[in-house]
């Protein structure tokens, strides 16, 4: 479906979903966040969702600037607490489709607790974790997903902390849809987002992203294009290929694609049932 759309004489019009007066955005030249947002907007168009039925919530960070540029209902909240605000809003107005834009630091460090409990409740929302392995907005400190040995402002001789696997964490916490994509594989990411938007329950999509200004410059990856190529060549392997490839080719690589998908009772529905049962007693 996505491929067929590419063949049209008029290219996809992103501007109908954007606040045009807020552009150009504040993301650095070559930052992958814009590419991820484009994939999301195409996925929203595939699902034919109305702008009024969507709500985008975010915390603090580079990724959390996303709601400022999209023309939906938007909420820019405090650091790591986007999940809590979104949970409240979803319970008050269950007809809204919630999308949370959050970064690796926002979701895994400051909001780690909120993240796991949102996954545990299986409340209907799409959580997009832009994982660029660094705190970009505050000057390049290492984050919970920075690989061992990487240089950051606060780890000048290399990071010694083992990183989090966001997808494993979401799965263990009880999320019912867990997927991973990259900013390089943009059409695959669009398909993943389309699937995730159709899922009823907590959907977590981790997106391997690039930060050329802080992470790239300190780790000898000069330029945005080089970082993108690194994501393709050394970063990930598709879930469809992982069993077929020899072990040495998949070693140390993350698996991308839809990793986990189950159907479980959704929180708002269960809550509504409880209210109806008690009120009609």
């Amino acid at each position: 479906m996505a491929v067929a759309k590419q063949k049209l004489s008029v290219p996809f019009d992103y501007d109908k979903y954007l606040r045009k007066d807020k552009l150009p955005h504040i993301w650095c030249p070559g930052c992958g966040h814009g590419i991820v947002l484009k994939s999301l907007l195409r996925a929203i168009d595939n699902k034919e969702l109305s702008k009024n039925d969507l709500c985008m919530v975010s915390g603090i960070g580079c990724s959390s600037r996303t709601p400022g540029y999209v023309d939906f209902n938007t909420l820019h909240t405090i650091h790591g607490r986007a999940f809590s605000f979104a949970t409240g809003l979803k319970l008050a107005k269950p007809s809204l489709k919630m999308i949370i834009a959050t970064g690796d630091g926002d979701a895994m460090a400051i909001g780690g607790n909120h993240f796991i409990h949102t996954c545990r409740r299986n409340i209907d929302m799409l959580i997009i974790v832009y994982s660029n392995a660094i705190y970009g907005m505050t000057g390049g400190q290492f984050s919970p997903t920075t690989p061992i040995g990487s240089i950051a402002t606060t780890s000048r001789y290399g990071n010694v902390e083992p990183p989090f696997d966001i997808c494993e964490m979401a799965k263990a916490a009880g999320a019912t849809f867990v997927a991973r994509g990259t900013a390089y594989h943009t059409q695959e990411l669009e398909r993943t987002f389309t699937e995730a938007l159709g899922h009823k329950g907590t959907a977590v999509v981790e997106v391997i992203d690039s930060c050329p200004i802080y992470f790239g410059r300190m780790n000898k990856q000069r330029g945005a294009s080089e970082m993108m190529e690194n994501i393709e060549k050394n970063g990930t392997v598709s879930v469809k290929q992982v069993d077929k490839l020899p072990a040495e080719k998949t070693e140390g690589k993350l698996v991308r694609g839809i990793l986990h998908r189950v159907e479980k009772p959704e929180y708002c529905e269960q809550y509504d049932k409880l209210i109806v049962a008690k009120a009609t007693k």
């Binding site: 004489s9 290219p11 030249p29 070559g30 814009g34 945005a224 294009s225």
Partner: protein, 67 residues
């Protein structure tokens, strides 16, 4: 009889939005684009195959390819 002129695509680049990150230049398979100063410009329109890779990859919503 002269051959009918090849229909060329139209590449729209917003100078206001472009940050010259050069992702479109490096990922273009036929070298259509180049960076000039602080913006990306079309260097060789005839080489364009309308593959839309620049449109897909531009992080700044700056480039669009019309058939």
């Amino acid at each position: 009889m002269a051959e009918p002129a090849k229909k060329l695509p139209r590449i729209e680049i917003s100078e206001r939005r472009c940050k010259a990150c050069s992702i479109c230049v490096d990922f273009c398979p036929t070298n259509v684009l180049e960076i000039r100063g602080t913006t990306c410009v079309v260097k060789d329109l005839e080489a364009c195959t309308r593959c839309q890779l620049c449109d897909l990859r531009c992080p700044d919503f700056a480039i669009r390819v019309f058939d």
